[in-house]
C-alpha cells in the first residue's frame, strides 16, 4: 500500500489516499469518497528524479502524489512493469558512475575545444563565401589609421616596387580574396606587419627598413598571405562562437556566471591564435620553397624583429596568453655575424601577426 494524496484536477483540495497495484493489473485507490480503480496500463507514472514526489496520473486527469518513490518502484516491479527511464535515476544514484561522468565530461570538453571546435569552424568556413571575410575586415584599417598609424614615409618608388612583388605573389592564388598591400608608419607597433581578413596586408616602414633584403620582406608577406588565404579571422570568429555555445551549455543559467562565460572564448583565443600563426608559418615556408627562395630568410627577419622588440621592452615575463608562439619554437634563431647575439629569453610579444 502506498501512502499519498489524491488531487482530482478540478480543485486544489487534496484527499489522503492509498494506492495499490494488484497482481491482476488493476490499480486501486482507497480513502476517497468513492473507491477508484483502473487498469495499471492506463496510468502514467512520472519519472523518478532525485527525491521529488512521484505522480501517478489517472485517465480521468486525477493525480495521486506520493513521496514514497521506492514503494512505487517496488510495486511496479512486483507486477512486472518497468518504471519509465528508471536507468537514468540509477545512473544518478551511483557515485562511481557520477564520478565517471565527470571525468568523461571534462575529457570530452577538452577534446572538443582542442580538436572539435577548430575542425567544425574550418568546415563551416568552407561553405561561407569570401564576402564573409570582407565583412569582418570592413572598417578595421580606417580605425587603425585614426588611432595608431601615420602615412608611410617610404619613397613612392620603393612602395610601388614592393607592391609589384606582392601582386606577383597574389595573382596566381586565385582564391577570391582581393589582396592589397598598404604601408604605414607607426611608433607604437614598430617593425611589424599584419593581415586583415579583407585581404589588405599592412606593413610598417620600420619593417621595410629592418629587412636586409627583399626576400625577407617577401617571406613576411607570404606569412600574411597565409593568414588571409587560411581565412584565419573568420575561423577565429566561428571558433569563439562554438566555445561560447559550449560554455553556456555547461554553466548556462546562472546570471552571475554569464559575465565570466563571455571571457571563455577570450581565454582560448590566444591558443587558437597561436595555432593560426603556426599555420601561416607553414604556408610561408612552403611558398618560399616552391619559389626557390631560401626559407631561412623568414627565420632571419622574424628573429631580428623579436630582438628589436625585445630591446625596447623591459619585461621578460613569459606571456602565458600570448597570441603568438615563442619565436624559438617557430624558427631557429642563428646569431648573425654583424649583430650581437640575442638574449636567451627574448620577450615574445610584438611580432609578425
Amino acid at each position: 500500500m502506498i501512502e499519498g494524496r489524491y488531487f482530482d484536477g478540478t480543485s486544489s483540495v487534496g484527499v489522503p489516499a492509498h494506492l495499490t497495484l494488484g497482481a491482476d493489473g488493476i490499480a486501486r485507490l482507497f480513502g476517497l469518497a468513492d473507491r477508484a480503480e483502473g487498469p495499471v496500463d492506463e496510468l502514467k507514472f512520472s519519472e523518478r528524479v532525485g527525491s521529488i514526489p512521484r505522480r501517478v496520473t489517472f485517465p480521468n486527469g486525477g493525480v495521486f502524489e506520493t513521496r514514497d518513490n521506492d514503494a512505487i518502484d517496488e510495486a511496479l516491479e512486483s507486477i512486472g512493469r518497468k518504471a519509465g527511464k528508471a536507468w537514468l535515476h540509477r545512473l544518478e544514484s551511483q557515485w562511481h558512475i557520477v564520478i565517471g561522468s565527470l571525468v568523461a565530461v571534462v575529457l570530452l570538453s577538452v577534446a572538443f575545444v582542442q580538436w572539435g571546435v577548430p575542425a567544425i569552424a574550418n568546415q563551416v568556413a568552407k561553405v561561407m563565401p569570401v564576402e564573409a571575410d570582407r565583412a569582418i575586415g570592413m572598417g578595421t584599417l580606417d580605425m587603425f589609421d585614426r588611432t595608431m598609424f601615420e602615412t608611410s614615409e617610404l619613397s613612392s618608388d620603393r612602395r610601388a616596387q614592393l607592391r609589384r612583388e606582392f601582386d606577383d605573389m597574389t595573382e596566381p592564388l586565385d582564391d577570391g580574396h582581393e589582396y592589397q598591400l598598404e604601408f604605414r608608419k607607426s611608433e607604437s607597433i614598430g617593425a611589424n606587419a599584419f593581415a586583415l581578413p579583407s585581404g589588405i596586408v599592412v606593413m610598417t616602414d620600420d619593417l621595410v627598413k629592418l629587412a636586409k633584403s627583399d626576400e625577407e620582406i617577401i617571406a613576411v608577406l607570404a606569412h600574411e598571405i597565409g593568414h588571409v588565404r587560411g581565412r584565419h579571422a573568420l575561423r577565429q570568429l566561428l571558433q569563439a562562437a562554438g566555445i561560447s555555445a559550449l560554455a553556456v551549455a555547461v554553466l548556462g543559467d546562472v546570471s552571475s556566471i554569464s559575465g565570466i562565460l563571455s571571457a571563455a572564448p577570450a581565454l582560448l583565443h590566444a591558443k587558437h591564435s597561436r595555432d593560426f600563426e603556426r599555420e601561416a608559418d607553414t604556408f610561408a615556408k612552403q611558398w618560399l620553397r616552391e619559389h626557390d627562395i631560401d626559407e631561412t630568410r623568414f627565420d632571419a627577419i622574424l628573429c631580428r624583429m623579436t630582438r628589436e622588440a625585445g630591446e625596447s621592452s623591459d619585461s621578460d615575463a613569459i606571456d602565458y596568453f600570448s597570441s603568438h608562439p615563442p619565436t624559438d619554437e617557430r624558427v631557429r634563431c642563428l646569431p648573425e655575424e654583424d649583430e650581437p647575439e640575442a638574449e636567451p629569453e627574448a620577450e615574445s610579444k610584438p611580432r609578425v601577426s
Partner: protein
Amino acid sequence: MNETTIDAGGLAASSSVPTARVNIPFEFRATGGEYFRIWIVNLLLTIVTLGIYSAWAKVRRLRYFYGSTVLDGHSFEYHARPLAILKGRLTIFFGYVIFLVLTKMFPLSIFLFLPLLLLGVPWIIVKARLFQMRMTSYRNLRFNFHGTYGGAMSAFIGWYFLVILTLGIIFPMWVRRQVAYILGNTAFGTTQFRFVTGNGRFFAFCYATMGLGILVYAGFIFMLFQAGLMNPQQNADVDPGNLAQMFGIAGLLKLLVLAIAGVSVYGYYQAAHANASIGGIEIGQTRVISQLRASSLIWIQVTNLLGVLFTLGLFYPWAKVRAMKYHLENTSLDTAGGMGEFTASAGSATDPLGEELGDFFDMDFGI
C-alpha cells in the same frame, strides 16, 4: 481587511467567515549533491548526443527544481515534453543562423529584421509566458496566462516610446508596466493574479539605483583621470595592462571598493525589484510576501561566483541550488483560506516554440 470582498476568481470560502491569516513559506528541498548528480549525467548525455539530449536534460532539470519547491506540503510539477522543446530549439537555431549569416553578409538587412523583431518580441513574450505557465502545476492545477499580444505590445514596446518621449523620466513606470503585465495576467487554475504594487515604489528603487550607480560611475571616472588614463598625452608611457603601475596600491584598493560598490548597487536593484514584483502579487485572498535582502543576495552571488571560478565550474550545482533556495525561502504566502480552495479551468497544451524563443533571448541554456 479583505474579508468582505468576493473575488470573482473563486476564493469564495473566506468571503463570509473571517479566518485567521496564516503565513505559509516556500521551501526548497533540492540539495547541491543531488543536483550535481543530475547535472553531470545530463551534461554527459548532452555531449555524447551532440546536444540533442539537451531538451530532455532541460525537462529533467526543471522537474527536479519544480518538484523540490514545496508550498504547504506539496510540490510543483513541470510538464513540458522534451520532443516539443527540441523542435522549438531547432527552429530557433536555424532561424538564428540565417539571421547571423544574412546580417554578416548584408549588414543593411538588419534594418529589415529590426521592425520584424519589434513586432515579434511581444509575440515571443506572450508565447513564452503562456507555455511556461501551462506547463506548471501545483496540486494538479495548472497555471495559466491570459496576456494578449496587444497588451504585450503596449507594455514592452509602446511604453518604451513613451519613456523616450518623456526623456526617460517615467522609466520606472515602464518597468512596473512590464511586471504588471506578466504577473497580473497569470492565473492559478481559474483564479487570476492581481498585481498591486504602485508606481511610487518602482520610482523609489529605480531612482535610488540610478543615483547610487551614478555615484559609483563618477568615482570610477575620477580614478581614471587621477591615473592619467583619460589623458592621451601621458598615455603613451603607461602600459594599460599593468594596473598596479597605473593606479598604485592605494588606487587599486579604491578600485576594489568601487567594484564592490558597483556589485552592491546591482544586488540592491535585484532585491528591490523582486520584492516589489513578486511581493505585489495577490491571488484571491492570498498575498505573496517577498523579503529578499540586498546584502544577502550580494554575498550569495559573489561567493557563488568565486566558488565556481576556483573549482573550474564544479561548484556550479551547489551555487545554483543555494541561490534558488535563498530566493524561495524568503518568499511566503500570507493567506486566509489556505491553498486548498482553488479551482481548475479546462487547460490545453500549447506549442512550446514560444517558450523556447523566450529562453533563447534569456540564454537559459543550462543543463
